[in-house]
């Protein structure tokens, strides 16, 4: 130090933050961007639920309603849950494996900017004469052809999806390379924390399936401008194969990282070592490989896929899923459970995802799928997996790791309030949709028979309660950052390596590493201390 002080100008600070290659800052950028897109997509959902609150309201035109559900679904999947899951991995994986950095920090930074540009491009469609994308989040052919959906807005959607997906692919590749090549000495693959294992298998799925969507979007753009790409009676089926080859694995990309987060939370707040670690590792490999083999169940109703194969593989998913549930529950059995906010969200995930998973068995069976296909039953099923499941898993992780990332504790009282609002809101919103779907209410239409009005009103009230829950969470973040309660390095008495460093971690993550003899080095150290003679 020479005694002189250098002060960074605001512009320099902004560039320093926006172009930083530090994986923690890149992950923070992803978190901010994905929260922004979550807010936008959530507002679209509220507009939809306002339209559906009673039959015959028609607050928006049919065309606008198409844009609302398309951009809501697209925003939540391409721009919120997928990047948020990968962002969580980008922040935590290097810390959990004892690395000073990620393997390819520039790749992750470039991935973030491609994702951001893609997301903005998708939403720019609202400013065009033709409106935003309006052909569902799957952009099924021929609905998304230039004949049926002319205009720049849909083109922007297609290009935006391709860019955002490419960005996510680059981020995932960075995480994968970090796990495979930058683990600390002693951190063997069978000593990876559970969350890092879930990120590893997630990146396998990303690497195998995301390039297919990018190709599909390129072909769709060519179809819209040149024609003849998805022509004829088989064109639509060919597009569906390409899309769903991505479309089903992405559901698990938005699921497994949160299983990992929940597993870490459950072990920490049960004060126990995770039960069945090796069985979990095998089940993760099996589950994610199988999940690549089930895309055809989205196409049962087309009559153009081998139903027996896809039904068999879809049902087989219940086996590894059962192992994971058994491990989570067995970890809690006999533990001294602490019902702190992260644990409440983890329990919410476990219970509510079960409903999504069990109703998944219904749609994995072709005869039952024929009945509920295209109905609100499907909407209820995937919202129980992605909202009541994945979002609760994400919030379990956010409440758990927030002290590590910021150095400040979130408020327990507001955290519990937001949990109960979200849990009540989610079930009030999505459970009636099962009944509506079985009663024949089709999805993606802005009006319905008057006899379905009561359940729809209940669902719309639930959406309002969810909005209150989200506001409570945001208020918690603001209050906790403004009036900081210092967290310390390890406020929860946790087990894995990221808690061995400062909160927030320094630029290169660790000043020193503890000995690594298992996936839970901090728990090993505590047990050694407690077991040592006084």
């Amino acid at each position: 130090m020479d005694g002189s002080a250098s002060v960074a100008l605001p512009a320099e600070r902004a560039v320093g933050w926006l172009a930083s290659t530090d994986h923690k800052r890149t992950a923070a950028k992803i978190a901010v961007a994905s929260l922004f897109f979550f807010g936008l997509s959530g507002l679209l959902a509220l507009a939809m639920r306002a339209e559906l609150a009673q039959p015959g309201l028609q607050l928006v035109s049919d065309r606008s309603y198409d844009e609302l559900f398309t951009m809501h679904g697209s925003g939540m999947i391409y721009l919120f849950l997928t990047p948020a899951a990968l962002g969580l991995g980008l922040y935590l994986v290097p810390l959990q494996v004892g690395a000073a950095e990620v393997a390819a920090p520039r790749l992750a930074l470039g991935g973030f900017w491609l994702y951001l540009c893609g997301g903005l491009a998708m939403y720019l469609g609202f400013l065009t004469d033709s409106g935003a994308g309006s052909d569902t989040w799957t952009a099924t052919i021929p609905l998304s052809s230039s004949t049926h959906s002319p205009g720049v807005g849909m083109d922007l959607w297609v290009i935006g999806v391709a860019l955002a997906t490419l960005g996510s692919l680059l981020i995932a590749l960075t995480i994968l390379l970090t796990i495979v090549r930058l683990r600390a000495p002693g951190m063997t693959m069978l000593r990876l924390p559970v969350f890092s294992w879930t990120m590893l298998v997630t990146t396998f799925m990303v690497l195998a399936s995301f390039p297919v969507l990018i190709v599909a979007m390129g072909l769709l753009l060519a179809e819209r401008h040149l024609g003849g790409v998805f022509a004829g009676s088989t064109g639509s089926i060919a597009y569906q194969h390409l899309f769903w080859f991505y479309g089903h694995p992405v559901v698990y990309v938005m699921f497994f990282p949160f299983v990992g987060a929940v597993a870490e939370v459950v072990a920490t707040f049960s004060r126990k070592r995770f039960f069945g670690y090796r069985a979990l590792v095998v089940s993760l490999l099996l589950f994610t490989a199988l999940s690549m083999a089930v895309w055809g169940h989205h196409m049962f109703a087309t009559g153009a896929v081998q139903n027996q194969y896809f039904s068999l593989t879809s049902h087989l998913l219940a086996v590894p899923a059962g192992i994971e549930y058994l491990d989570l529950i067995a970890t809690m059995v006999g533990g001294a459970i602490l019902f702190r906010t992260p644990m409440l969200f983890a329990l919410g995930f476990i219970c509510q995802f079960l409903i999504g998973g069990l109703t998944g068995i219904v749609v994995a069976s072709p005869p039952l799928d024929y009945h509920v296909n295209g109905s609100f039953f499907i909407v209820a099923h995937f919202h129980y997996t992605l909202f009541a499941g994945s979002l609760f898993g994400l919030l379990a992780g956010v409440h758990y790791w927030f002290p590590k990332a910021t150095g400040a504790m979130l408020r327990e009282g507001i955290g519990k309030l937001s949990f109960w609002l979200l849990a009540i809101g989610a079930n009030l919103t999505f459970f009636p949709m099962f009944l509506l779907g079985f009663d024949g209410m089709p999805r993606r239409v802005p009006d319905y028979a008057p006899r379905l009005g009561d359940l729809n009103l209940l669902s719309s009230i639930g959406a309002g309660v969810i909005a209150l829950g989200v506001l409570a969470f945001l208020a918690n973040v603001c209050v906790s950052l403004r009036r900081r309660v210092p967290a310390g390095d390890d406020p929860w008495g946790a087990q894995t390596l990221e808690w061995a460093t400062g909160s927030p971690p320094p630029r290169h993550n660790f000043d020193s590493l503890p000995p690594i003899a298992s996936y839970a080095p901090l728990l090993d150290r505590r047990e050694a201390r407690e077991g040592a003679p006084a």
């Binding site: 560039v15 290659t21 520039r106 540009c117 720049v152 290009i159 195998a208 490989a289």
Partner: protein, 114 residues
């Protein structure tokens, strides 16, 4: 098998097995898509085995503006596919500028490496 190649190899092989199962059920073209999708993970496993990480310290920049310029340029060039050739050309130019800048940054980094 060591240094992290076993999980991607195992996963890639499971993919091949499931793809072969689909081919046996006579969905040949989708099965090809499935079988090909295992390739990136298997290639990564093979590359990691052939060239294991050395573990030596790496010199990395705190910030990398050229990466941002390259990514934004590429995004603009892609958006030009619908907004017009002018935007594609502007985007390509920005991306090229970013790529050259990134090349210089990498070259300087290598020069300063211990």
């Amino acid at each position: 098998m060591s240094r992290g190649s076993a999980p991607p190899l195992a996963w890639g092989c499971l993919q091949l097995l499931l793809g072969a199962g689909l081919a046996a059920f006579s969905e040949f073209v989708p099965a090809l898509l499935f079988l090909a999708s295992a390739a990136p993970v298997l290639v990564l496993a093979a590359w990691n085995r052939a060239r294991p990480a050395g573990g030596e310290p790496r010199l990395l920049p705190a910030i990398s503006v050229p990466v941002v310029v390259l990514a934004v340029g590429a995004a603009l060039a892609a958006l030009g596919l619908t907004a017009g050739l002018w935007l594609s050309l502007v985007g390509a130019e920005v991306a090229l500028f970013g790529a050259v800048w990134l090349g210089r940054e990498l070259s300087e980094e290598r020069g300063r490496a211990p």
